[in-house]
Symmetry: C2
Amino acid sequence: MTSRRDRQIGIFDSGVGGLTVMAAIAKLMPHERLVYLGDTARLPYGTKSAETVSRYAVQATRALMRFDVKLVVVACNTASAVALPVLAAALAPVPVIGVVEPGARAAVAASRNGHIAIIATEGTVRGGAYVRAVHALKPNATVVQKACPLFVALAEEGWTEGDVPERVTERYVRELFESADVKPDTLVLGCTHFPVFAKQIAKAAGSGVTLVDSAQTTATEVAQLLQAQNLKRQGAGEAPLFLATDAAERFARVGSLFLGRPIDNAQVELVDLAP
Amino acid sequence: MTSRRDRQIGIFDSGVGGLTVMAAIAKLMPHERLVYLGDTARLPYGTKSAETVSRYAVQATRALMRFDVKLVVVACNTASAVALPVLAAALAPVPVIGVVEPGARAAVAASRNGHIAIIATEGTVRGGAYVRAVHALKPNATVVQKACPLFVALAEEGWTEGDVPERVTERYVRELFESADVKPDTLVLGCTHFPVFAKQIAKAAGSGVTLVDSAQTTATEVAQLLQAQNLKRQGAGEAPLFLATDAAERFARVGSLFLGRPIDNAQVELVDLAP
């Protein structure tokens, strides 16, 4: 039987965007064994109701639990924003870490003027989880937020350069900042798809605005939890496992963009979540 | 018991795009009773595998069958393209009409030079159903096709005017026509989301290109089938029924754009497709 330390870290996302979080975890903790599940049959979560996202997330993370993981990272912002308490209850005693709290913590640490902007999916914005998480840390912060669903579609299409993403970014950032009384000095990329447009977003936001990407902060939080619970693995790293609920070829092709290195079709295993 | 003629026509789509087909049917056949189901919990179908689309489409249309419908119209191009035989078998003896055959028929009728272009979702393009349907009617036609997934996202975001949809359209149409030896004189809008960009597509395609939207042709085919099977309803029309598998508010808001008239939240009923 595998000792608890040697067990895998499970990483869950609605699709391939969470691979940015996986990349950050792999870089910070090269000794850990990782298994990633993308619920590609039912993505995107960002346009769905909280009830449906919760139900799907519980089903999907149960498939990760079959690997006897020592920790589950919810790399999906929407699921973190609307389903984290439900997931924590469903997976207990295995600890669950989302990306919203770490993102909010990084934003509060980065902001000097206390004005913070959030861009995310419709579901994340509607649920207000980032706003609550920021206020829990800094009650007098002002927060504006905007749903930017086209970024998801552009990233999935691979249109990350050129005038189309530039125009889309300009319009989103303009509308976001127009809704603020004081210009925010910190902008949270509250969806794992958005870091691929970081260059355009930084340009549209202008100087003096810090972009916060929760992938790094989440990886740090994972490292701290493993340290605190004496769960750090020693020994050589292993190739990660990729699971998808649909379309392995598309997962490998689009996922490579987010992981930052090629994924072979044959590395992606299809899993069925049917109850 | 309701006589067969008085029963409803069921219209099925992955989301709200099929409301363009519903609008065409309602206009041509104002006496008919209509029930529409959008599988909004699991949209979009266009990026999913044929197996998953078939499974979801069978589950969704079964929910329509509870209304004892006299006919099912598959208003979703992707489901029509990859799941029509499966659906016809699952719903027999109730007749099933898809949108691909009517679209192909209209394209062949419209084309003078025999060069036809198709734009659709990834799933529809990959499955090749339009190409087969055109060749079945006109074996020596040449067909080029291109997946245009960003149109779906733009339409759902309501960005149907301005420079973003214009640039996206220009790029898609340029890449589509670059893949053709002879410029097509007919362009099929092979996704129910695309007609909202008809103006931009016509401009990018240039003069001498006819756009084909399968909504009208499908409505005509429905009328012919009702006539042939003596299933036409007499009497006053009724308000249609709208069913969605998730997010009724979003269905009403985005759906109004496609139906061409407002939909009230309260008119949309949530249904659970869980087996």
